[in-house]
């Protein structure tokens, strides 16, 4: 139930959006999926739209800007810049250098571009269209996969409605045709795939259940896949007793001294059980509501190694996604916290 299915089958499209609110691990899952594509030999590009490129760091590479940079075999990344995309669109694509200098660079128009909602999103989609549909013809480069991790758009639903919305404004001219073609791109189920990332916690689960019908309506189809990140389900499949409150409390009762400690322990245990509860709840609700989305539980890699930094977590997630590698679920034999006490200074040094 928790082991991953064949991702390539679930998400065959060339342009794949990863959606999910901040903190759910969207970047990790998007990068991991891209990595799995690259490992299969597909030329893959991760398009970020964030204040700062965080993907290159995972591969110990210098930060990428608006142009794509190689970060691993078959894998590239870029961080979208609205200003540069707008420049490229007018100068390189429309060949309207004069209008660009005169109109777009005008400081009053710049203020509009930066403040008006939707403008930057439109150019983001335009850039994706260029990458997926035009770059081969124009530059002779083709990516087999373009994976989108768009932080700035949160749930990303506005991204899918932006072009049809702007199209209603009665525009004519080049901006109207731009809207038109990105709207057609988004509507093409052969070309565009969507993956949702969520967490087995109260608010993310609530939001996912509310968001899904809206997304399905705006997109005209269900998303391809859902990932439940930081799941404990794969770990406890093997030893379910560990999550049985009575069983656990009875053993600890014989070991601990103070009743306050026991109370705290029971709070912590229930807190952990909640993750399992919300995961089961989400799966049940989705099936009750007749959603037919393949769900993958992604184990909380940090649980087998608390010192795992982001690159190690990415490796673990990719191992799990690619071949259901069980070794990511192995727990250390000795408590790490004990060892950690004696080595405080050493660890604080490698932190900075």
């Amino acid at each position: 139930m928790t082991s991953p299915a064949n991702l390539a089958e679930q998400i065959p499209q060339r342009l794949v959006f990863f959606l999910g609110k901040g903190g759910v691990g969207r970047t990790t899952l998007a990068t991991s999926f891209a990595q799995s594509c690259a490992l299969r030999g597909e030329k893959t590009l991760i398009v970020q739209w964030a204040l700062q490129d965080s993907v290159s760091l995972l591969f110990s590479r210098p930060t990428a800007g608006h142009d794509s940079e190689p970060i691993a075999n078959n894998l590239w990344t870029m961080n979208f810049s609205p200003d540069e995309a707008i420049r490229e669109y007018f100068i390189d694509h429309l060949k309207l250098k004069l209008i660009y200098n005169l109109v777009i660079e005008n400081k009053h128009v710049q203020r509009l571009v930066h403040a008006a909602p939707g403008v930057q999103e439109l150019f983001f989609l335009g850039r994706l269209f260029w990458l997926v549909c035009l770059s081969e013809e124009i530059r002779g480069t083709r990516f087999d996969r373009v994976v989108v991790d768009a932080q700035a758009t949160g749930h990303g639903v506005s991204l899918f409605t932006i072009a049809p919305t702007i199209a209603q404004f009665g525009m004519t001219g080049p901006l109207a045709s731009e809207c038109d073609r990105v709207a057609k791109m988004i509507a093409d189920p052969q070309l565009v795939g969507v993956a949702l990332v969520t967490l087995p916690e109260e608010l993310p689960v609530e939001e996912t259940l509310e968001f899904l019908p809206r997304l399905t309506r705006d997109l005209g189809r269900e998303p391809n896949a859902m990932f439940i990140n930081r799941s404990i389900a794969p770990f406890i499949e093997k030893n379910p007793l560990s999550m049985d409150q009575r069983h656990v409390m009875v053993i600890w009762q014989s070991l601990l001294k103070s009743p306050e400690a026991m109370r705290a322990l029971s709070v912590l245990h229930r807190d952990l059980c909640k993750r399992q509860h919300f995961e089961e709840f989400l799966r049940k609700e989705l099936s009750n509501r007749r959603h037919n989305i393949p769900i993958t539980s992604v184990p909380d890699i940090g649980l087998s190694d608390p010192e795992a930094g982001a690159p190690a977590v990415l490796r673990g997630v990719t191992d799990w996604l690619v071949d259901g590698n069980d070794s990511v679920l192995e727990l250390p034999q000795q408590p790490v916290s004990a060892k950690w006490h004696s080595n405080d200074s050493e660890i604080s040094e490698d932190q900075r």
């Binding site: 203020r111 949160g154 404004f169 916690e201 952990l272 000795q334």
Partner: protein, 375 residues
Amino acid sequence: MKKQSAEPLKGRKIPRLHLFLGAGGVGKTTLSAGFAIALAQQGRHVGLMSIDPAKRLQGALGLDELPESGAQIELPNCTGSVRASVLHIGESLKRWVNEAGLSKAAQERLYENQLFRALAERLATATDTFAAVRMAEWPEREEGLTDLVVDTAPGIHAIDFLSKPEKLSAFLDGKLIEWLKWFAQENNTQTSFIQRVVKGGARRVLDGLSELGGQRFMLHFAEFLILLDEVFARMMTRLNFAGHWLRSSETHCYVVTSVRYDAVQVAWELGRTLKTLKMSPGQVIINRAFPEALRNDPAFADALEKMRQQEDDSFFANYLDNFIVVQRRVQEQLLRGAQSVITLPVAEHLDAHSALRLDDLASLGQRILEHSGDH
């Protein structure tokens, strides 16, 4: 655009602003609600502006649905009050249009305008842009308000909310709006008089824009701006006020994190951004931390080691062990930033999937108040 000269609060004392910032899922909304209740219990009259409150939290506040315009929360035996609202920009915008005193015909034309409809209903990104306006509006609507507690959007993106007052006001106050109005009037009255008055540069920019988006769109856009003139004028006043308010020395920021590396990273960046925005760096709260009582039990370390060896039970022991390691690192990182840190342990009722109680929220807020000196 008409300038509004009157200060929105007309000489009244400015309420205190308390902002809760942090990564997604760290508990900002719950903490801000608890904090608002704790303030009310001290006799203060508090506004609570939430983004995305969970249903369970709304339940705890005794409300099925948090309205955009705010609702009073029932607080038994309390001298103060809390009025809670959820940020819903589409509804706010419609209310502002009503309050701006537009004629019925003008209102109808505005509601037909596609740009307005998009702004009000569809473009979700507008939420960030107008959050500061909604915040600044609050004390105007509520005379006795002493404190406003604001739960911000998750992540470093709350910075948008903090930094966009300038961006938005730069546009609303900009020349482009004036130019577009000329453009619209010119097309309505078919007079060439204004054409002669408008400077050549403006003319060229407008012609360029027409070429890109079409004349029809430009007219739509101009109509939209003219109809919203009064609404925008009020927004400008409020945005100016929001800018001052955010930077006031009385304003308090709480950067919330949980025991998670990514959340601490966000907390760090938020702290840095607050500094560059010349706002007070505020206090860091580590929410849902490891309970001291357990770690202080003299038998805990041995018990942990023993449980670790048991195949069937090792998972929970591993979880506890892990928790301690991550928390120590998190604390170290935060203290290196020399910020004062408030630690709130995982609490019994707050996160259980049973009902959330008002008292639990209040005691949580109480702890923040005690440690922060923010009162």
